[in-house]
């Protein structure tokens, strides 16, 4: 009996996660969110299916399905990218604004538990949205070409991206006092990942790399582009279609299944960055950073 109790206490659900889920899933709000999300996704799918079929009304070929699949994957990716930072950017700063953070910190709950509880409570909503979209995605199984494994790969990629964007939100939420500032900075960071990396790559390749190697064209992927989740997704979907070996623009080349793919590097980077951001957030949340401040004091003295 004692052993069972010990095991139970070790594997208890994070109290913050449990509370957040209770609050977020209560009432009609969550059901309406899921309903509206799937309605938008389904309407967009029907819309794009109609457009692709306009050349050949009444019949669907594998090319149409590939386009519909790519569109649905991109649409869901866009929605997740928009939602994830918003769900987490107010997680800690909101507690601070509501004056509930001090009480939470005065309990025995570890700072890491508070951070992960908040992150996974927010992500659970996204995961529910992703899972609930399976029926809409199942339209592609009607015509073949795309299998369950490919769909799972994409869904796992979504979850990694959601964790990354969620961690960015949590990070700024911990370091900023106000939720508004945390929201702005989270989206700014996301915009940098999605667009900033493209602009920097284009300018750097055109202005620095290209002039230095006039005779040989630059066909590699510039290192910064490995951090761009959108190009990670493009790389993943291209691999699924068996395409590769071409250049999207100077600085981004998709390999043809040889070596490590851009999306794989992107996933590794995303996971690494999430761990670092969450760890920094947990450290920041710890009000008695004795060891750290002592270390800093010593460094300052030196």
């Amino acid at each position: 009996m004692n052993n069972i109790e010990t095991i139970k206490s070790r594997f208890r659900i994070n109290p913050v996660l449990q509370k957040e889920l209770k609050v977020k899933m209560r009432g009609w709000k969550a059901a309406i969110l899921i309903g509206v999300y799937n309605l938008v996704l389904a309407l967009l799918t029907i819309f794009i299916l109609k457009i692709t079929m306009s050349d050949n009304p009444g019949s669907v070929n594998s090319q149409n399905i590939t386009v519909v699949y790519a569109f649905m994957v991109a649409a869901q990716f866009g929605l997740i990218s928009l939602i994830a930072p918003a769900l987490t950017a107010g997680a800690i700063s909101g507690e601070r604004e509501k004056q509930t953070l001090d009480i939470l910190l005065s309990t025995t709950l570890s700072h890491w538990s508070i951070i992960t509880g908040k992150l996974f409570a927010s992500l659970s909503q996204i995961i529910i949205l992703i899972v609930s979209s399976i029926p809409a995605f199942s339209i592609i199984f009607l015509y073949g070409g795309i299998g369950v494994i490919e769909l799972l790969q994409v869904f796992l990629f979504y979850i990694v991206v959601a964790i990354t964007l969620g961690s960015i939100g949590i990070f700024f939420s911990t370091f900023m006092k106000k939720s508004t500032a945390a929201n702005v900075l989270s989206y700014a960071f996301a915009v940098f990942l999605y667009l900033g990396t493209i602009f920097i790559t284009i300018f750097y390749v055109q202005l620095v790399i290209a002039p230095s190697q006039l005779t040989v064209p630059y066909t590699k992927t510039f290192w910064l582009m490995n951090f761009n989740p959108a190009f990670g997704l493009i790389s993943l979907v291209s691999n699924q279609f068996g395409q590769g070996g071409y250049q999207i623009f100077p600085g981004v080349s998709l390999n043809a299944g040889k070596g490590i793919a851009l999306w794989q590097i992107n996933v590794i980077f995303d996971i690494g960055m999430s761990v670092v951001l969450l760890w920094l957030s947990a450290m920041k949340l710890n009000p008695t950073k004795k060891k750290w401040s002592n270390a800093f004091r010593k460094i300052r003295k030196i």
Partner: protein
Amino acid sequence: MLKIENLCKCYGKFQAVNELNLHIPKGEIFGFVGPNGAGKTTTMRIICGLLEATSGKVFADGIDVINKPKELKSKIGYMPDFFGVYDDLKVMEYLEFYASIYNIRGLEREKVCKDLLELVDLSEKKDFYVDSLSRGMKQRLCLARSLVHNPDLLILDEPASGMDPRARLEMKEILKTLRSMGKTILVSSHILPELAELCTSIGIIDKGRVIMSGTVEEITKKVYHTQTIRIKVIAKVEETIRLLQEYPDVDGANVTSENTVEASFKGDDMFLNSLLLRLIQSNIPVVAFNQLSGNLEDIFMMVTATEEIK
């Protein structure tokens, strides 16, 4: 129960807590009195592990607060001066959430939460959303929350601020009950008469230092050097005054209202006993004989003003 040694906290060049020393024995209600910005909240936050001390030591039940914060947090219940509640939870759910943090589960959790709601007189509100509670009720709920893990030491920062007189009285009764349960309570408040009535001892803090501590009587003695006795008689007022003036330890005696004499004196309980005996032996019809305890507000003003001059 709580021992603070040479505690210091600096914010840049500003010293919020300056070599603060304090010792609170088990089972006491210790009142922390001081002007705004004196360092009360800072000290309390350090004790609760919410703020890092610049230097010094804090021990709660023998546990080093600074080096073992997690161990300590299971022994301390903290109620901050400004706090929020989760408005979207029900009263019972609110307590259950905090109980789950301390790994209190199942039937035990339910029992603990119900008992606490009974203690703070919120049993009838258990299925109400926290949002619908009045300020006083929220404060009582927050107190119940701080007790969910049955801590030995309670740190209450202005627990009755913003409450109406009835709610303050109820809070005072709850604190007395908690003391009878063996809890040690460190409480800060600006409502000094209530604090004087409630607390077993008081610490006056100013500019980050405890400038005086002890029971209200002890502090009165230290501040005023003399004490006051009030005697009510049915008759023979003049004779009472004459008799009092015979004592060299009595500084002065005068009539304050009809048949009531007040006299300031230097002396202890033995002196008072002999004085009472003498009055009765002299056939003076005494109906009331009581030593006036010092007015904490006056003491506070006097002590903090002296510090200001220094």
